[in-house]
Assembly symmetry: C2
Homo-oligomer: 363 residues x 2
């Protein structure tokens, strides 16, 4: 067993604090990783606060993890000690179902679906009455060490700084996957709704794909920031701007992490175009099917991305020299960081420097 | 001018009754048609009652029209006197926009969009400030004569009875178009929600395409009727049946003509599969994006079909020897028929025999 130090929430109403636990040693196909950086995702907050009504406590969040391989199991072929690697939202899937067979582990159809990097299987034993992974909880990247199956460990390209690479493992692939799946291409007009961690990554990726990008935000101060990053930007309640943009977008992506009204955005889609929601995993405001049907529009959802897409987006960001705008924080600042994320005060992704944990470990 | 007798509503709260009006004589590219049969569509009732808040009165409904050509303009090439022909929901479109250029007149992007067979342009002058068609109202097939541009007149195949062909012009194409657009093919499992005029046609067409069809209805008595027609059928609130069907459908089509909760049906879709709404043109109940995103599902809308698809579905029904289940009524019975449609008492489509109008014309 490996002694591990992390930060955990004990209840939905408690602040995160130091938590010591053990991880099993790396098995034949597993890799032991020293965590260097871990991004702070809005879903960490949803999960800690039990806003999806499925949190298992203690909860050690973190699924935007970059670290260095410190040990490998005897059967590991893909990674070596010293490699800079990443771990995203998943650490296992059934490997047998039609989704896994076609490479879409993120849509694993096994009773428990995939095994999340933290909080255990996506469908817990309490809901589906079995647990193919034998673990009801898993502990994520807000910790100094991680042990993960080699297939679920990604390679961090040398051109990417490790702290910049971290958010690509969730915010990056969650937006890259639908942009790719719905065929966004050079010359397309793409709208990105919400300008947080996911939204600003989506915009950078879409632009690198050759699309013309417009961001929609509720925060007036972000207009200038969007322009600085090279994007058009519109305030969500600017009625004239919305009218001028009617039926003009080839694709739109909503990254807003909570229930919101998408009707204004549906009207901005061209005929046959899609609006895909990746932020809000909950009941949405009612959608007017008059607007949807009259241009054969589509409203869809998408969930992170598969392993191949995760490696692709890391390589894509390296190749196009793009990455998230980040602010490094210490592990001890996490509760304050959560408050700022909820207020929309972050520009644009907090990344925890795990070296800060060492002082609490007596090193 | 041609003297025409029809049935009209004068207000949103009035019953339909005899109404005499004039139509202009057929111009160079127009065809004059003696109406033989006209189907009764649920949207006739929505329109008569001003439930879409855009009805122009007097309102002469009817857009499932079969008749015989009685006169042709000098430039008409496609039709001849004596031909059995059909007219559906549209009688004109701009012909210039990208949608029209690609053959999708039903998504015409001109300011007024397409010209509806009754009630005038889809976007009235009062809304968009111009009217390319020069007509603020049009009178539909609840009348003895019609004059229509030849391009918007379809050919009724000889194998189809005229009264059976009539509902194919709206109920048929409205369901055929999305089944075709979303690529339904032999072996697919298709769910049809609602078992009225549209729903039962959708089921017949999907089955003729080689799909395995399950109908969902709120009316217990329709289960047996669905089975008789060769379809599986499930009551909408049969929780066990819905659970057993989870994630099993390649495609679903909702034909329910009013706001309804589709969350139970979204859960029945396979990964990457679509639920398309063609019945309800209004704000829907909230959809849980958790269910949508977790299998990258799609919710979309579709509006009737284009001219080519309308001819295709007529030919397809003739070839596969299918058609709607109809009940012939007299024009004078229309108000009673509306009541029955609203109660779901019709099995499955009323078709008006226009010969019944003659007695009111003193013939």
């Amino acid at each position: 067993m490996i002694k591990v130090t992390g930060y955990a929430a004990k209840h939905s109403f408690s602040r995160l604090k130091k938590y010591e636990f053990e991880r099993e040693d790396a098995k034949a196909h597993e890799v032991e990783i020293e965590v260097l950086y871990c991004g702070v995702c809005h879903s960490d907050i949803h999960q800690v606060k039990n806003e999806w009504h499925n949190t298992v406590y203690p909860c050690v969040p973190g699924h935007e993890i970059v670290g260095r391989v410190t040990k490998v199991g005897p059967a590991v072929r893909k990674h070596a000690v010293g490699d800079l690697v990443g771990v995203g939202c998943m650490i296992d899937s059934c490997g047998q179902c039609e989704a896994c067979a076609s490479g879409d582990q993120n849509y694993c159809m096994a009773p428990n679906s995939w095994l999340a990097t933290y909080n255990g299987p996506m469908q817990p034993k309490s809901k589906v009455g079995e647990n193919i992974y034998g673990r009801d909880n898993t502990f994520g990247g807000y910790s100094n060490m991680l042990v993960v199956k080699e297939d679920f460990v990604l390679k961090i390209p040398a051109q990417l700084k490790p702290e910049v690479a971290a958010p690509i493992l969730c915010a990056g692939v969650t937006t890259y996957s639908p942009l790719k799946h719905w065929g966004v291409k050079a010359g397309d007009k793409v709208g990105i709704i919400g300008m947080g961690g996911l939204g600003h990554m989506a915009a950078k990726i879409a632009k690198a794909m050759g699309a013309e990008v417009t961001m929609f935000t509720r925060t007036r101060e972000k207009i200038e920031e969007a322009n600085k990053l090279g994007f058009d930007a519109v305030i969500e309640d600017d009625k004239q701007a919305l009218k001028d943009l009617e039926a003009s977008f080839d694709f739109m992506l909503s990254t807003v992490p909570e229930k919101h009204d998408i009707n204004n955005y549906v009207q901005l889609l061209k005929r046959n175009a899609a609006l895909v929601l990746v932020g809000a995993l909950e009941p949405m405001a009612p959608v007017d099917n008059m607007q949807v049907a009259f241009k054969r529009r589509t409203v869809a959802g998408s969930l992170i991305g598969n392993l191949a897409e995760t490696q692709e987006v890391l390589d894509f960001c390296a190749e196009h020299n793009i990455g998230p705008e980040i602010e490094i924080i210490r592990m001890q600042d996490i509760n304050d960081a959560y408050n700022k994320v909820e207020k929309g005060d972050v520009r644009f992704r907090y990344v925890i420097d795990m070296a800060s944990l060492k002082e609490e470990m007596g090193e």
